[in-house]
Symmetry: C2
């Protein structure tokens, strides 16, 4: 990675983001607080459009449910889920200035041990490293204290009772799990079904440094997909079986090999690279989502998580990563097979029953045998030992006794042989209609702020010394710029009327009449507006306008009558700019 270039790109994004109102660090007037950002007007619109894409791809096709719950959750929820125990980071504080630092950052910076290696260390090993080395505070150069564990959830109190602990949710998944029974009813008591929640979540990071990549408050999209583990087939698998997934395998990662292997969905399932059909299906959908927000497949990969990297609830886990200039590969989504872990935890903690009754296709007959000692034979034969023998016979597994009769003709109790004729064997039949099980869960989970960041980085282009944000047309924050060529002779009014009309047709429109037309095009390019419509003197004659394409810098002239239909089709990706008509001479 060329570090000079990388810092350029990232600085350029930050400068542009602040100036044009995509995002910036919040509360700057109070010195800023790490880990919090404010999305400005263009950023909020872009973020809403990316969230709408998630809804498009996941909700509409699959009939996934969406819910909205609270960020603050009662303590029990995250005690039961294991977060209160596991959601911790190793931290070390300075003995002098009191500032806290992540242990992995300190060890990495001071000893050069890779973050991957540090992630494997447990608390004892971490403490050993700190006992062997003396580390100075990066801020004030005084000695650092002993490492501790820091719970990275925001903690608060709900209502006036100091014992009613609440946490800011670090994920949106738990508020889906705790409502499972109600949601299952809404799915008309049928599996499989999925529930998504897109909302703010909180992680009280010790020292967040990477802007949008590591936030204390962020937007998460957690999709929990519930299915019967014995009927785990995905009914869309045929549609995606020849899609190719670029995967960095755990086995290679362990050897330090960064090589990506390409597998078709079918291959990955056959070779058990990915164990769940639903999981790999969502991985394909995630790949498509990223493609739609502008990230080419070649800049995407999935990495298989190593055992010590996996969250406490996951059996198999893949991270979807995107290559960015400054930080290399960064995670944008996680794909975890959570099994029945979460539902089971909440069942145990709350006493609720999340099991589902599955009726067998035909009822199964279960036969139970009962053993009854014949007193009239055992009593006289074993005398004073009879009572003990009878007591033992009442607790030994009947199956064991019957097998022993079959094999040897007798069964040993208290060192005595009991024969088949000394007991009475009766059958009891039971009709079993079905069984109860806890659904399994696969979870695709997206960090919306990271999706936002990669969309912005991949849109960023430079053309003739001008910054152009080439967003895919249907995530662009503003769809249309409307400009009167000049501010006189009625052109301005005509352009305003056109703006109002196109707004009422549902388009996101920006009217701009300030400065030369060239400067307005430049501003529009920088805001990523795909099409700019100019009202000129010809418009006043024949009701046609020019439309200019952001990426081609070419213009066509179309009739205002045709405009709405053309634009609808263009933004639905039914037609391309070239289909609008012949290019005209650009001014």
């Amino acid at each position: 990675m060329d570090s000079s270039k990388s810092s350029d790109t990232s600085s350029k994004i930050n400068e542009l983001a602040r100036r044009r109102g995509f995002f910036w660090q919040s509360y700057e007037i109070y010195g800023g607080v790490g880990g919090f950002v404010t999305y400005g007007p263009l950023g909020t619109r872009l973020k809403l459009n990316i969230e709408a894409k998630i809804r498009d791809i996941f909700i509409k096709k699959l009939g996934i449910f969406e819910i909205e719950s609270s960020v603050i959750s009662p303590g029990q929820v995250f005690e039961a889920s294991g977060h209160v125990n596991h959601f911790k980071e190793f931290m070390v504080k300075c003995s002098n200035c009191g500032k806290g630092f992540r242990v992995d950052q300190i060890i990495n910076e001071k000893l050069g041990i890779s973050l991957l290696e540090i992630e494997k260390m447990d608390f004892a090993e971490i403490k050993k490293v700190f006992r062997k080395n003396i580390f100075d505070c990066p801020e004030c150069n005084n000695a650092l204290k002993e490492p501790t564990q820091f719970l990275t959830m925001f903690k608060t109190t709900i209502g006036p009772y100091s014992k009613a602990i609440g946490y800011g949710r670090p994920e949106a998944a738990q508020s889906i799990f705790v409502e499972f029974n109600r949601l299952y009813k809404m799915a008309r008591e049928k599996l499989p079904f999925g529930v998504i929640q897109i909302g703010h979540a909180l992680r009280n990071e010790i020292s967040p440094r990477q802007g949008l990549i590591r936030l204390r408050e962020f937007t998460i999209a957690d999709l929990e997909f519930f299915f019967n583990p014995e009927e785990a087939n995905c009914n869309f698998i045929d549609e995606v079986e020849s899609e190719v997934l670029p995967i960095l395998l755990a086995v290679n990662r362990k050897k330090g090999i960064e090589e990506i292997s390409n597998f078709t969905v079918r291959e990955a399932l056959e070779k058990k690279i990915v164990c769940s059909e639903w999981q790999i299906f969502f991985m394909v959908m995630a790949m498509k989502l990223l493609l739609e927000i502008g990230i080419p497949i070649k800049n995407q990969r999935f990495i298989e998580k190593l055992p010590w990297e996996k969250a406490h609830y996951a059996t198999q886990c893949f991270d979807q990563e995107v290559y960015v200039d400054r930080w290399g590969w960064i995670e944008v989504s996680g794909h975890a097979y959570r099994t029945d872990y979460d539902l089971r935890c909440h069942m145990d903690a709350s006493g609720a029953d999340f099991r589902i009754f599955k009726e067998f296709e035909k009822p199964v007959e279960e036969v139970n045998y009962l053993l009854k000692p014949k007193m009239s034979l055992i009593g006289p034969k074993f005398k004073e030992k009879a009572e003990e023998i009878i007591a033992d016979l009442s607790i030994v597994p009947v199956k064991e006794v019957l097998e022993s009769f079959e094999e040897k003709g007798y069964y040993f109790v208290k060192g005595k042989k009991i024969t088949k004729n000394q007991v009475e064997i009766t059958q009891r039949k039971k009709i079993i209609k079905g069984k109860r099980f806890i659904p399994h869960v696969v979870e695709p989970s997206f960090g919306c702020d990271r999706l936002f960041y990669v969309a912005l980085e991949y849109a960023l282009k430079s053309k003739k010394n001008r910054t152009v944000l080439s967003f895919p047309r249907n995530i662009a924050p503003i769809q249309l710029g409307i400009f009167p060529l000049v501010n006189k002779d009625g052109l301005n009014d005509k352009a305003k009327t056109l703006s109002t009309f196109l707004r009422s047709e549902g388009f996101l429109v920006e009217f701009d009449d300030a400065g030369s037309i060239g400067r307005r095009y430049a501003r529009a390019d920088e805001a990523g507006i795909p099409l700019c419509i100019t009202v000129d003197y010809v418009t006043m004659d024949n009701d046609t306008v020019t439309i200019r394409d952001r990426d081609l810098w070419k213009q066509v002239r179309v009739s205002i009558n045709d405009l709405s239909k053309l634009l609808v089709d263009y933004f639905k990706e039914k037609i391309e700019f070239e289909d609008f008509g012949d290019f005209i001479e650009s001014k």
Copy 2:
């Protein structure tokens, strides 16, 4: 208010909301926590649609900016804004069980004093009431303690430093104010402009009781509109001047009169009932918003807040109220004239400069006079007193001296007369190009959960013993139901293909093939689906389907080819159901 009827309506809404997945109290498996709700699939969609309406009405027309910031805010923000000092409720705890109660609820329930009267009391008066009376705990009947003040913000710590206090924001407004300078730049340094934020907010209520009406976590839509108080005209005022606002005046409220007065916008401004044109404009828009989500004007009113009811930042404040069956009139939005209060607070606390420089139309010449004692005259005349006199002349206001010369011919200094000829007077001219001022703010602020509740209550109808949710068509959670008449002969596949097509056209579609067609219509009515499309045997012949209207229970038959266009126009409210074609015989 008929209380038996009211409890019926409210119970009916709650029962329906839980069963069909509009909303329910969160975390039921852990016993539920007051003040937190989960919106289910239908509810989330309805809520998103209502929020989209707010965006439609406020953002699109006015070019209002939207931003998204964090729920957790550093302590300084709410110290500066006055919330840490003012955002408190009087609370009283039980000496035995420790449960906390709102003081106003206790006094109201035990002494029968109206909540309106209690709201006027300050802390001293509250304490007096508690000293005069002995109140028992409503839960365990033991004695209540002394009243205290409870800060109704959620408090937490940001990062590992225990001194870095953070609060859950009780409103979205402050994260707009603190970013004023950046937002003003995005408005190209022109007033007026507005910024909206729609997001979660938190109020740590002592004992929330009223379901969706009083939540600890809720969604707020705060719109802050910035303008120059000396150029306070609203450029849309002509468009709304004859709109009629139903207002309950403060002067009547003080007398206990509940009579609504109707004023046109023009009258209300002329009579100074509402002082700001922008404020009344937003009140009209709020009225239209409520109308569009299904609340007739006759069930809306604005109440003028009394001095002791107003928030600490507001000069003039109106609440928009809607009549609901259970609680009578409830607030759904607040309209506050916040003046420059908030910007000024944050300027004082942070040192940032939020003043705007306004250039005068033509520069103003300011003349300053300088006074210089003539030493050659004063020295000889006043001898040892001369030094004192000269020192005094250097600090007295020049204007005062000149006026005294004009009036009396002399000016007294240290008991001595100084005359005009003993001093030299020079002029210094200064050109003043403009002045600096802090913008004023009017704020419409909507409680989205309350909008949701009133939309649900007003949609709730009963027809032939069947529950129908008659949502206005463009907030309905699902737009179209698609049903195959039977599950055979290819009807099911045809209906599924149609569903896929209509989803790709952007409609919110529910496919349903379970149970009789009658039961499916009933389920659709209860979910508020405006139109249901049925694929029947005729469809297989001639590619037409029936469309059934939720409210009329009438059907038309249309060609699949015309469907998309008709439905687009219908949901854009360009055509009515009657325009689809002739009604056919209902099955």
